[in-house]
C-alpha cells in the first residue's frame, strides 16, 4: 500500500514545481502539473479507501517532530473513516476545481507579467497539501499546522488580485478574524495538554475524564476546552461572531471561493468538532451553545443572502448559512450528519460557485445578478448544472441537500428529546426549518434571476467594474458557453449534487441498509460515545415538511426572481446582522485609539530616549574634539602633565 504521506507530499511537490518553474512553462502546463498532483493524491487516498479503511484506523508515523521531556509530538498521520471522507472531498473536489481553473484563469487581465497563472496553481497546491495535513493529522498540534497553513493559503488567494483594494483588504480581514479563532483553538489545545499531557487524539480521548479534574477542571474542564475549540471552529467555519470575513473573501478568484470558501477549508471547523466528538460529548453546555450559534448563523446568513444581488455574495452567505446547519448538527451530537452535510454541500456548493464563475466568465466579469437573466439558452451546460446543484442546495427532494439538511433538522429535534431540553432544541429545529425555506427561496430566486427571464446584459455596456473577476471581453457582451475544461468539472459536480444524497437515505422502515451507507461507514468512528444517534429513526412528518419546503421555496423563489429581477429581495440593512459595523465601532475604534496612544508613547518617550542618547554623545564629542589642536607641543604637554601626575601619585602614596 502506498504511504499516506504521499497524499500531502504530492501537492507539496506540485507547489514547489509550479512555484519555482511555473512562470517559465507554457500556461496550461503549470495548471496540468498542479491538477495532476492533486489527482494523484486523490488516487492514493482512493486506493486506501477502496483497499478498505478498517474500522481500526490506519496510522502512520513519519517522524518525531518535537520531544521535550514528556511532551512528544509525532508527525504521524491517521486515516480512519472520518478522515477518509474528508480527504476524498478535499482531493477529489480539489482536483475538479484545479481542472476548472485551467480554463478559468487563462484570461486573467491582471496577469501582466504572465507569472500569476503558475502562482495561482502553486497556491492552490499548497492549500491542498495543508488541508490534507489538517485532515490526516493524528494530533491536535499537527492539525493546527495544517489549520494555519490553509489560513495562509486562503490569505494568499483572497488577495490574489492584490492591486484591487477590496481584495487586499479582504485578505487581511480573513487572516485577522481567523487569528481570533486560532487563539481559542490554541488555548483549548494548551488546556488539553495541561490536563492530559498529550495532544494525540487517541490519548486525549482515552483520558477525557481527566479534563474535569485538577487545575483544568477548576477552570472549567471539558466545557471550557470545547468552547475554546468551538471558537476556533467558528473562526475557520465563519460562524457568528466571526463570520464577517467570509462574504468579503469573495474578492478572490471564483475557483478559490469554490474550493476554499465553500467546499473544503471552511468545513475544517466542522471536521475539528467531529474529530473532537469525545470532548464535545463530555460538555453538553457547549453543544447547546454550538447548536444555538449554528441556528442563529444559519438564519441570519440566509436572510442576508436574500438581500444581495451579487451572484457570489449570495452564495457566500448561503455557505455561511449551510455551515450554520453543520454546527447545528454538531451541537445536536449528530456528527455523522454534520459530516454528511459537509460531503453533500461540497458537491453542490462547489458546483454553484463554479457555475457562477462560468457565468461571470461569460459576461466578461459581471457579477451583478440584476444585469444577468436569460442565460439559459446561451449556456446550456452551466444552466443545467447550476439548476441541479441549486435544487440540491434548496433541499428539493430527491437531490443531495434534501437528505443531509433534513437529517440535521431531524437530529436537532431528536437531540432535544434525548437531552430532555426539548424546548430549546425544538426552537433550534424550527429555526432550521425556517432557514431551509429561506434557503430554497433565495436559491430559486438566484437561479431565475441569472438564467431565466429576459436578458438584461445587453443594456449594460459599462460592466466589468472593479469588482470584476475576469476582465476580458469588456467590449463585447456576447455570452458564450465555457470551454469543456470548465464544463466537465461542472457536470461531474452536478452528478454528485444529484446522487450524493442517496448515500445517506433516511432511515425509514423498509429501506435497505445499503441506502444509508454513509452513516454506516462513519458509525465505527463515533460508535463508542453515542451509538444512539447513529441509529436515530427518520421522522416521516419532517421528511414531508422538508420536501414541501424545498420544492415550494424553490418555485416561490423562482417566481420572485422573475418578478423583481432588477432588485434585491430587500435592502441589505433590513437583514444583515451588521456585525461589521459593531466591530468597527467597538473593537476597531478601540484598537485604533490604543494604537494612537502607543504611537504617541513611541514617538515621544521611546524616541526621546533614543534621540537623547544620540544628542548627548554628539554634543560631548563636539566639545571634546576641540582638544585636537594639531599642535604637537600641545600633545607633548598633555603627555608631560600626565607623566607628572603619575609621578606625583607614586611619590605621594
Amino acid at each position: 500500500m502506498l504511504p499516506l504521506w504521499l497524499i500531502i507530499a504530492l501537492p507539496l511537490l506540485g507547489f514547489v514545481v509550479t512555484g519555482l518553474f511555473g512562470a517559465k512553462m507554457p500556461k496550461p502546463a503549470a495548471g496540468a502539473i498542479a491538477s495532476l498532483m492533486v489527482g494523484a493524491a486523490f488516487v492514493v487516498a482512493l486506493l486506501h479507501v477502496l483497499g478498505g479503511v478498517p474500522e481500526k484506523a490506519i496510522s502512520e508515523s513519519v517522524y518525531t517532530w518535537i520531544q521535550i521531556g514528556n511532551f512528544k509530538v509525532d508527525v504521524s498521520l491517521l486515516l480512519d473513516r472520518l478522515s477518509a471522507v474528508m480527504i476524498l472531498i478535499v482531493t477529489g473536489i480539489g482536483f475538479l476545481i484545479h481542472v476548472y481553473s485551467i480554463g478559468y484563469m487563462a484570461h486573467d487581465h491582471n496577469d501582466l507579467e504572465g507569472t500569476r497563472y503558475a502562482r495561482f496553481f502553486s497556491y492552490l497546491n499548497l492549500f491542498i497539501a495543508f488541508m490534507a495535513l489538517l485532515v490526516l493529522a493524528d494530533n491536535y498540534l499537527l492539525m493546527f499546522v495544517g489549520w494555519e497553513g490553509v489560513g495562509l493559503c486562503s490569505y494568499f488567494l483572497i488577495g490574489f488580485w492584490f492591486e484591487r483594494e477590496d481584495a487586499a483588504e479582504a485578505s487581511k480581514k480573513a487572516f485577522i478574524v481567523n487569528r481570533i479563532g486560532d487563539f481559542g483553538f490554541l488555548l483549548g489545545m494548551l488546556l488539553i495538554f495541561l490536563a492530559v499531557g498529550s495532544l494525540n487524539y487517541q490519548e486525549v480521548f482515552a483520558k477525557v475524564g481527566e479534563l474535569d479534574s485538577g487545575t483544568v477542571g477548576a477552570l472549567g474542564g471539558a466545557t471550557l476546552i470545547t468552547l475554546l475549540l468551538a471558537l476556533g471552529a467558528a473562526g475557520k467555519s465563519a460562524q457568528i461572531p466571526l463570520y464577517t470575513w467570509l462574504p468579503d473573501a469573495m474578492a478572490g478568484p471564483t475557483p478559490v471561493s469554490a474550493l476554499i470558501h465553500a467546499a473544503t477549508m471552511v468545513t475544517a471547523g466542522v471536521y475539528m468538532c467531529a474529530r473532537s466528538s469525545v470532548l464535545f460529548e463530555a460538555a453538553p453546555t457547549t453543544k447547546l451553545i454550538l447548536c444555538g450559534i449554528g441556528a442563529a448563523t444559519a438564519l441570519f446568513a440566509g436572510l442576508t443572502a436574500l438581500a444581495h444581488t451579487d451572484i457570489k455574495k449570495v452564495l457566500a452567505y448561503s455557505t455561511v448559512s449551510q455551515l450554520g446547519f453543520m454546527f447545528m448538527a454538531v451541537g445536536a451530537g449528530a456528527y455523522i450528519v454534520a459530516i454528511f452535510h459537509v460531503f453533500t454541500h461540497a458537491f453542490f456548493k462547489a458546483c454553484l460557485f463554479l457555475g457562477a464563475g462560468s457565468v461571470i466568465h461569460a459576461l466578461g466579469g459581471e457579477q451583478d445578478m440584476r444585469k444577468m437573466g436569460g442565460l439559459a439558452a446561451r449556456m446550456k451546460t452551466t444552466n443545467l448544472t447550476f439548476m441541479l446543484s441549486g435544487l440540491a442546495l434548496a433541499g428539493a427532494i430527491p437531490f443531495a441537500g434534501f437528505f443531509s439538511k433534513d437529517e440535521i433538522i431531524g437530529s436537532v429535534f431528536a437531540a432535544g428529546q434525548a437531552a430532555g431540553t426539548n424546548g430549546i432544541y425544538a426552537i433550534f429545529g424550527s429555526i432550521g426549518l425556517l432557514t431551509a425555506l429561506i434557503t430554497a427561496i433565495y436559491t430559486g430566486r438566484q437561479y431565475s434571476q441569472v438564467f431565466l427571464g429576459e436578458s438584461r446584459w445587453n443594456a449594460t455596456q459599462h460592466h466589468g467594474t472593479e469588482a470584476s473577476d475576469d476582465k476580458h471581453a469588456h467590449h463585447s457582451v456576447e455570452p458564450h458557453e465555457s470551454p469543456a475544461v470548465m464544463t466537465i468539472p461542472l457536470i461531474i459536480l452536478a452528478v454528485g449534487a444529484v446522487f450524493a444524497g442517496f448515500l445517506g437515505f433516511p432511515n425509514l422502515p423498509g429501506v435497505p441498509e445499503s441506502l444509508h451507507g454513509f452513516a454506516n461507514f462513519l458509525a465505527p468512528v463515533f460508535a463508542s460515545e453515542h451509538g444512539e444517534h447513529a441509529e436515530h429513526k427518520a421522522n416521516v412528518v419532517l421528511l414531508l415538511i422538508g420536501a414541501i419546503i424545498g420544492w415550494g421555496g424553490w418555485i416561490f423563489g423562482r417566481g420572485l426572481g422573475l418578478k423583481q429581477a432588477e432588485s434585491a429581495f430587500w435592502p441589505e440593512s433590513m437583514s444583515a446582522l451588521s456585525l461589521d459595523k459593531v466591530y468597527n465601532n467597538t473593537i476597531v475604534k478601540l484598537g485604533y485609539a490604543l494604537a494612537m496612544a502607543v504611537r504617541w508613547i513611541d514617538e515621544n518617550i521611546v524616541d526621546g530616549i533614543v534621540n537623547g542618547v544620540g544628542i548627548l554623545v554628539g554634543q560631548s564629542a563636539a566639545s571634546l574634539r576641540l582638544t585636537q589642536t594639531s599642535f604637537v607641543r600641545n600633545y607633548a604637554l598633555a603627555m608631560a602633565v600626565g607623566g607628572a601626575m603619575i609621578l606625583a601619585y607614586f611619590l605621594t602614596s
Partner: protein
C-alpha cells in the same frame, strides 16, 4: 663625589630637555632635547650603578646592569635618530620648513 650630585645634574638635564620639547618649535632642536632627556636618564643609570657598586651591599654583577643598560639606551637613541631625522627630511621636502607648528592638518 656623592651620588646625589650626579642625580641633581641628571634631573636638571631632564627638565631642560622636557622644557625644550614643550617650548621649542624647531624640530631638530626638539630632537636634541629628546637626546638630552635620554642622556639625563643615562647619567642617572651610571651614577646609581656606581653608587650601589661602591656601597658593596649588592651583588657587583647586578650593580653592573645599570652600566650595561646605558648601552641599550644609546642603541635605541641611535636608531631613533635615524628614523627621526628621516621624518624631518621628509617634512622639510614637503613643507620647506621644519617648524612643528606648520604641521597642523590633523585637527578638529
Amino acid at each position: 663625589m656623592p651620588t646625589h650630585y650626579y642625580l641633581a645634574i641628571s634631573a636638571a638635564l631632564f627638565t631642560i630637555g622636557v622644557m625644550g620639547v614643550l617650548l621649542r618649535r624647531n624640530a631638530i632642536v626638539i630632537f636634541m632635547c629628546i637626546e638630552l632627556m635620554l642622556n639625563a636618564a643615562n647619567l642617572a643609570f651610571v651614577a646609581t650603578a656606581r653608587h650601589f657598586a661602591l656601597a658593596g651591599n649588592i651583588d657587583p654583577a647586578r650593580a653592573m646592569s645599570g652600566q650595561v643598560f646605558v648601552f641599550f639606551v644609546m642603541t635605541v637613541a641611535a636608531a631613533e635618530v635615524a628614523v627621526g631625522l628621516a621624518i624631518i627630511v621628509a617634512l622639510f621636502r614637503n613643507r620647506s620648513s621644519i617648524d612643528v607648528d606648520d604641521v597642523n592638518l590633523l585637527k578638529y
